[in-house]
C-alpha cells in the first residue's frame, strides 16, 4: 500500500500547460461582493477574495458557513433554487453573468472540481472508463486511442496501481481512497488552471487523507494549477494553503496570508476556531485531566473494565473475518482510556462485545468485577445500569417522536427508579449537568442543534448515575467548536463525579487532548498500548507512527512542500 503512494510516482513535465510565458497580470480568480440565497434565506453574504496564479487559498468554516456554496458558485453548479449575485472574475473575465452555453466550455478545461464524498461522485451504473472519457474529450484534437492512453497515464500519475483495471471497473468496486484518486485524475486530466477541491478528504481515513493531500500538493506544483481548497479543518488549511478566508454563517470573519492569520488571528471567531482544533492545542484540558493522572500515579485507580483475550469472528459471504483478535486492555476507575483505529480496525465490534450486544467467541470481559460475557438478557440489565453508551451520531440515537423529557427519563422508567417526582427532578439535574436549560424539556430532537442533541444523549446516559460510560466517537458528527463544548462537558463531569470513560475515536489529536491511556487497534488487534505521553511522544510501532504523522499539524507541512513560486507571487502581490 505504501509503495502505491502517489509521491513515489514520477510525473511527466507539464508540457500541456498553455502559453506559460505570456501570463496576463492580475489574479486568476477574483470574487467580489458575492451573495447567494435560496429563496428568502441568504446563505452567503457579500463575500470577496482573490486567488493568485499558482497559489492556493483555503475557505475555512463549519457547517452552515457557506464555504461549499461559494465553491459551487465559482463552478456555477448551485443546486436548484440557489441564486448568486455579485462578481466572479476568472482570468480577467466576469463569469457569473455568462450564459450557461458560454460558461460551459470553462468547466473541466479551465476549472476542475474535486468533490467531497468520492463514494457518490461517480455514476454508479457506468464504468470509470466511460466517465473518464468525458474528461478526456475536453482535450483538443486527439483521437480515441490517444485519449484512452492519456487516461491510463493520468491514473498512473495519481498513484493508481493498475490503470487498466480501474478503467474497466465500476465505482462500487473501488475503495474510497482510490475513487478520490480517480476523481483528482479526472479533474487534472484536461489541465485546468484552477482546481476547486470541496473537502476532498473529509470522507476518508486519516492515513489516506494525508496521501490525497500530498497528491494534490504534488500535482499542483508539477502541473502549475491554482487551488481553491474548501475545508472545515484549520490545521489542514494552514498546512496546504498560501492564504486563508475564515467564514461563519456566510460572512467573512477574517482573511489573509496563512502565516499571519495562523500565528495571530485577529477576529474572535478565528481565535476560537484556532483554540478549538485539538491538533493545535494538545494541552487544552490539562487541568481537568490532572485528577485522572493522579489516580493512575498513586495506584488508587482500581481496574473498572477488564477485557482479556477477546476474539470475535464473523462470517461474511461465506468467508470468516476476524473482527477482533485476541484483544486485551484494562481501564482504571476515574480515567479515560482511548481505543484508537481507522475504520475496519475492530474498535466498534470491541465495544459491542463490551456492552453485551454481541457475544465473543473466546475471552472474558468484566465491568466493575462483574462478568459481561455469557449472561442472560435479565442479568445483563443489572450490568448495563452502571454501563452506559453514547453513540457517534446524535441525529440517529434519539427517537424523533419523543420529547427531551421522555428521552432522558426513559432509563429511570425502565429501571423503575424513584417516584414520579424524583424522576422529574433527576431529569432536570442531568440536563443541568450537561448545560441544557429546562426550556428544552418539551422539544423534540428535530428542534435541537447537533450539539444540543449530543448533550441530551449524554444526559440520558448520566441520569442512572453510572460508573462507566462508553463513548463511540461522540463528536465525529459535530463541528469542531461544538466538539470542544462537548469534550469540556465530558471532562468536567469526569473531574466532578469520577466517571470512567472508554473513548473510541479515529482522531488522534482529540485523544491526545482528553485520554489518560491509549490502545491502538489495527486489523482487529491491539498493536500498541500505554499512557498518552508514551504513545504520542515515543511510538514503538510503525503503524502508530504513520497515524501520528498523518495528523495535520498546521504550519509544519509547509516546510516540507515549499511552493516554488511562493516568493515570486508574494512580490507580485506587494507590487500591485
Amino acid at each position: 500500500m505504501a509503495a502505491r503512494d502517489g509521491l513515489s510516482v514520477t510525473l511527466p513535465p507539464a508540457e500541456a500547460s498553455p502559453e506559460p510565458t505570456t501570463r496576463p497580470s492580475g489574479p486568476l480568480l477574483r470574487v467580489d461582493g458575492l451573495s447567494v440565497s435560496y429563496g428568502p434565506n441568504e446563505v452567503v453574504t457579500d463575500v470577496g477574495f482573490a486567488l493568485g496564479r499558482g497559489e492556493s487559498l483555503a475557505l475555512i468554516g463549519e457547517s452552515g458557513s457557506g464555504k461549499s456554496t461559494i465553491a459551487r458558485s465559482v463552478l456555477r453548479l448551485l443546486p436548484r433554487g440557489g441564486h448568486a449575485t455579485g462578481r466572479i472574475e476568472f482570468d480577467g473575465q466576469e463569469v457569473l453573468g455568462l450564459s450557461e452555453r458560454r460558461f460551459r466550455p470553462l468547466r473541466g478545461r479551465a476549472i476542475g472540481f474535486v468533490p467531497q464524498d468520492p463514494g457518490n461522485a461517480l455514476n454508479p451504473v457506468r464504468t470509470i472508463g466511460a466517465q473518464a472519457e468525458e474528461s478526456a474529450a475536453l482535450l483538443d484534437g486527439t483521437d480515441q486511442a490517444l485519449r484512452t492512453g492519456r487516461i491510463l497515464e493520468t491514473f498512473a500519475q495519481v498513484g493508481l496501481d493498475d490503470p487498466r483495471r480501474v478503467y474497466d471497473a465500476y465505482p462500487h468496486q473501488l475503495s474510497g481512497g482510490m475513487l478520490q484518486r480517480v476523481l483528482i485524475g479526472l479533474a487534472v486530466l484536461p489541465r485546468p488552471a484552477l482546481l476547486v477541491a470541496d473537502e476532498p478528504t473529509s470522507a476518508l481515513d486519516v492515513t489516506i487523507q494525508k496521501r490525497i493531500l500530498d497528491l494534490l500538493s504534488r500535482l499542483r506544483q508539477d502541473l502549475d494549477i491554482s487551488l481553491l481548497l474548501i475545508t472545515h479543518d484549520l490545521a489542514i488549511a494552514a498546512e496546504r494553503a498560501d492564504a486563508l478566508v475564515v467564514l461563519k454563517d456566510g460572512l467573512v470573519q477574517e482573511a489573509g496570508r496563512t502565516a499571519a492569520v495562523f500565528a495571530s488571528p485577529a477576529s474572535a471567531y478565528a481565535r476560537k476556531l484556532h483554540a478549538d482544533v485539538p491538533a493545535l492545542n494538545p494541552d487544552r484540558y490539562a487541568g481537568l485531566r490532572a485528577a485522572g493522572f493522579r489516580r493512575l500515579e498513586t495506584g488508587a485507580a482500581v481496574p473498572k473494565i477488564e477485557v482479556s483475550a477477546v476474539t470475535k469472528t464473523f462470517t461474511v459471504d461465506g468467508m470468516a473475518l476476524t473482527a477482533v483478535d485476541d484483544v486485551s486492555f484494562t481501564v482504571r476507575a476515574g480515567t479515560t482510556h482511548a481505543l484508537v483505529g481507522e475504520s475496519g480496525s475492530g474498535k466498534t465490534t470491541t465495544i459491542r462485545l463490551l456492552l453485551g450486544l454481541d457475544q465473543p467467541d473466546t475471552g472474558d470481559i468484566r465491568v466493575a468485577g462483574e462478568q459481561v460475557t455469557g449472561r442472560s438478557h435479565e442479568a445483563l440489565r443489572t450490568v448495563r445500569r452502571h454501563l452506559q453508551l453514547i453513540y457517534q451520531n446524535p441525529f440517529t440515537s434519539l427517537d424523533p417522536t419523543w420529547k427531551v423529557e421522555g428521552l432522558v427519563r426513559e432509563p429511570l422508567d425502565r429501571f423503575r427508579i424513584g417516584t414520579r417526582d424524583e424522576r422529574a427532578v433527576r431529569v432536570r439535574e442531568a440536563l443541568a449537568d450537561v448545560g441544557l436549560g429546562e426550556h428544552l424539556l418539551a422539544r423534540r430532537p428535530d428542534a435541537l442543534s447537533g450539539g444540543q442533541r449530543q448533550r441530551v444523549a449524554i444526559a440520558r446516559a448520566l441520569v442512572l448515575k453510572p460508573d462507566v460510560i462508553v463513548l463511540d466517537e461522540p463528536t465525529s458528527a459535530l463541528d469542531v467548536s461544538v466538539q470542544a463544548d462537548i469534550v469540556e462537558v465530558l471532562l468536567t463531569l469526569q473531574a466532578d463525579l469520577g466517571l470512567t470513560y472508554l473513548f473510541v475515536s479515529h482522531d488522534l489529536a482529540l485523544v491526545r487532548q482528553l485520554a489518560h491511556t491509549v490502545s491502538v487497534m489495527h486489523r482487529g488487534r491491539i498493536v500498541e498500548h500505554g499512557s498518552v505521553s508514551d504513545i504520542f511522544d515515543n511510538p514503538r510501532q510503525a503503524y502508530t507512527a504513520s497515524l501520528l504523522a498523518a495528523v495535520p499539524s498546521g504550519i509544519a507541512e509547509r516546510a516540507r512542500w515549499p511552493h516554488p513560486r511562493f516568493e515570486a507571487v508574494r512580490n507580485e502581490a506587494c507590487v500591485a
Binding site: 461582493g33 463575500v47 467573512v252 428542534a447
Partner: protein, 288 residues
Amino acid sequence: MSVVSLSSAVQAAPDRRSALRPRWSPLQMSPTVALALAIVTLVIAWSLAPHLFTSQDPVNGVPAHKLLGPSTAHWFGTDHLGRDVYARVVYGAASSVTSALIAVVIGVAVGGLMGLLAGFLGGWVDTVLARLVDILLAIPRFLLAVIVVTALGFDTVNTAIATGVSAVAVFARVMRAEVIKTRQATFVEASFLQGGSRWYVLWRHVLPNASRSVLTLAVLQFGLSILVIASLAFLGYGDPPPASDWGLLIATGKDYLRWPWLVYAPAFVTIATVLSLNRISRWLRETD
C-alpha cells in the same frame, strides 16, 4: 493590492440556530394544501349532515323538471327522473366516504398487523406472511375485489370489504419495510441498552416511528378506495338505485350522455375529493 481582500466587515453573525423551524405551522401551509383540506372537510360534512347543504329531495324527483341543465336552482342540473343531481351527490357522500373508511380500516388493521409482526419477529413468521402478501399481490387488485364481492354478495358494504382486502398487501409491505428500517435504528438499540424489553421497544419506539408512513399511505388509500368502490358501483356490484353512491351516479349518467352533466358533476366531485386526499398525503410525507 493584496492577494486577499477583505470585503465584508467582520461582524457578529446572526444566530441561525434560532431559525430552527417547528414541525409545521399553519402559516407555512401552501394554498393547495389548504384548499385540499377544505374540500375534504366539506365532503366529510356532507356525509355527516347532508340536509344542511341542500333542501332538495335526493330520492323523489319532480318529473316535470327532468334533465334540466345546471342552473342556480339546480347547481348540477337534474336527472332523468327530475331529481336534483347536487342533492344526490351530497346524500351519496355518506355512503362513499363510509365505505372508503371501512376499506382503509381493514387495510390498516389487517395489513398493518401483518407487516408489524413480519418485520419485528422475522424468521418463519416473516416467511409465511411474506408469501401471503405475495399471493395477494399476484392477483390484480381490482379482480381480487370483484372475486371477494362476488363471494360475499353484491352490496355496498361488501364492495368496501372487498376493497379493503385488496389493499391489505400494500399496507403489509409498507409496514414491514418501515418496521425493519426502524428496528435497525440506533435509538432502538439505545432503548434496549436502557433496559427496554422487546415488546416495550416495539410499542413505544418502533410503532410510533413506523406509523408515520402508514398514515401517509392510509390517506392515499382512502382516495384510491373511493375510486375502486366507485368502479365497483359503476359495474353494478354495489347497492342498486335509488342509492346515490358517486360511482352509481356516474354509471346511471352514462346512459344519458346527451346530458353530460349527469356524468361530469359527480365525476368532478369524485376527482376533486381524491385529488385533495392525494395532495394531503403528499403534504404529510413532505412535512415528515
